[in-house]
Amino acid sequence: MGYAESYDRFEERYEPGIARALGFALVVHLVLLAILFIGVRWQSHRPAPVTVELFQAPPPAPAPKPVAQVEPPKPAPPKPEPPKPVPKVETPAPKPEPKVEPKPEPRIEKPDIAQQAVPKPEPKPVVKPEPKPEPKPGAKVEPKTKPKPKPTPKPKVEAKPKPQPKPSPTAVARSELRQELAREEAAIKAQRQDAELRALLAREASARALATWTDKIRAKIRGNIILPPSLIGNPEAIFDVVLLPTGDVLGTPRLRRSSGDSRYDDAVLRAILKSSPLPRPDDPQIFTRNLELRFRPQE
């Protein structure tokens, strides 16, 4: 039993269970972090499903668009006549040369025309292919016998064969043209309706945004209205309110139309002043300085 015995233990002894304590502390902090990060979401995404749906309504419009774009060119050639003169002018060139060439030429010309005046190109192809093959048997002999230099007679010859020998083909072509025309016109109409619809939707959307904003404002104000006792009926009071962009009410709201009950008017006026600043619109675009607010005691 030396003296050392009572001392040596002092420094040796350490806190019991320090490892366990460390583990516990770690667990505590991990749990806290988990709660904070998973459980607490401050000011998370605002619910704005209504506006999203509103703007999704227009999308159907794009589908008609492609059709409308192809068709608009056609409307210009509503007259079946313009296509005819063109073939006449073109035909002289192809005839002097072999049959094979005329085809490439019209094709080349068509794109040009198509670019300048898109409407014409399409009707042409329909008309040309049909008359050419048919008149050729009869017409071929004539052009060959006649001198090539005369371009004018040729068109005449051609023009004649078309109406005489084949009344039905031209009729078919015309009816097709008409049909196409009708389709184009319908497309134009559809396009216009589409544009109108879209404009209407946009107007409606902004109107609705304005309405939701005023609804929000009125909801806030209504919460502050202290209804006077013994209020009879459901009279409507209309106030003109001037707003600052911050939502603060500028000056004193003007009573445009009294509800007939001055106590109710006063209550609404007080509520408006008390509710300042009023909520701001979600979309700053629709903000207006002058607002007309309508209140009814029972809403």
Binding site: S6, R9, E15, P16, A21, F24, A25, H29, Q43
Partner: protein
């Protein structure tokens, strides 16, 4: 700054300024340490109380003091504080008794001194780290507040060159600054509670030790010199 911006906790912490980040880091470390001490103290005090109760039962069950002393010496690495006090006092007493010429009061006084010394040592061990909890409890809210004040200063300074100041321009800055205070409070509140609780427990233990010392001195006094 957009109003619809998502104020998620992590983005707030990441976007905080350097000083605020340092403060948060410091507070987090302090909080971790203080929780570690809270648990280790909790375990230590619970164990000390259990051992004390066990030894009091053994002591007052009328066992022979020499047997108790031998038991304590044999398992000296696992015995509790009260048993250590007993061991020190009884060793001193038997040593003095083996020397001739000591009267009863001298024997008891020697034993009491030995017990007092061991008692101080044990109390020191029990109270170790408690001061850390106390400082954490009193200081970390101020540290957190410092971080918050700094962050808010930052938020307002960025507002200086804005024409039309809105709440949404300061809100994220203030929110991120307030996180520092939140962490400070998170570190401080448990520390304060644990400090009060532990110092109360240790006080009760020390009272138990002291009363045991008094009673044991009486027993030794009765035994007297050979």
């Amino acid at each position: 700054m957009n109003v619809t911006q998502d104020l998620e906790l992590w983005t707030l912490i990441v976007n905080a300024s350097l000083v605020v980040k340092l403060v948060m880091l410091l507070l987090l470390a302090v909080s971790f340490l203080s929780w570690t001490f809270i648990f280790s103290k909790w375990i230590a005090i619970r164990r000390a109380r259990r051992q004390t109760e066990q030894f009091e039962r053994d002591f007052w069950s009328g066992n022979d003091l020499n047997l108790l002393y031998q038991g304590a010496v044999n398992s000296r690495h696992t015995i509790g504080s009260l048993e250590r006090i007993f061991e020190a006092g009884f060793r001193e007493f038997s040593k003095l008794r083996n020397q001739r010429g000591n009267d009863a009061s001298a024997l008891v006084e020697g034993a009491e001194r030995a017990m007092r010394a061991t008692y101080q040592r044990e109390m020191d061990l029990l109270e170790r780290h408690l001061s850390f909890l106390a400082s954490t409890g009193s200081v970390s809210p101020y540290v957190g507040l410092f971080g918050t004040v700094w962050g808010i200063m930052h938020a307002f300074r960025s507002l200086a060159n804005v024409q039309q100041a809105t709440l949404s321009q300061v809100a994220p800055g203030i929110a991120e600054a307030l996180i520092a205070t939140a962490i400070g409070l998170f570190a401080a509140i448990p520390a304060v509670v644990a400090y009060n609780r532990f110092s109360h427990d240790i006080d009760r233990l020390s009272i138990r030790f002291e009363s045991f010392m008094g009673e044991f001195s009486n027993i030794l006094h009765r035994q007297g010199p050979r």
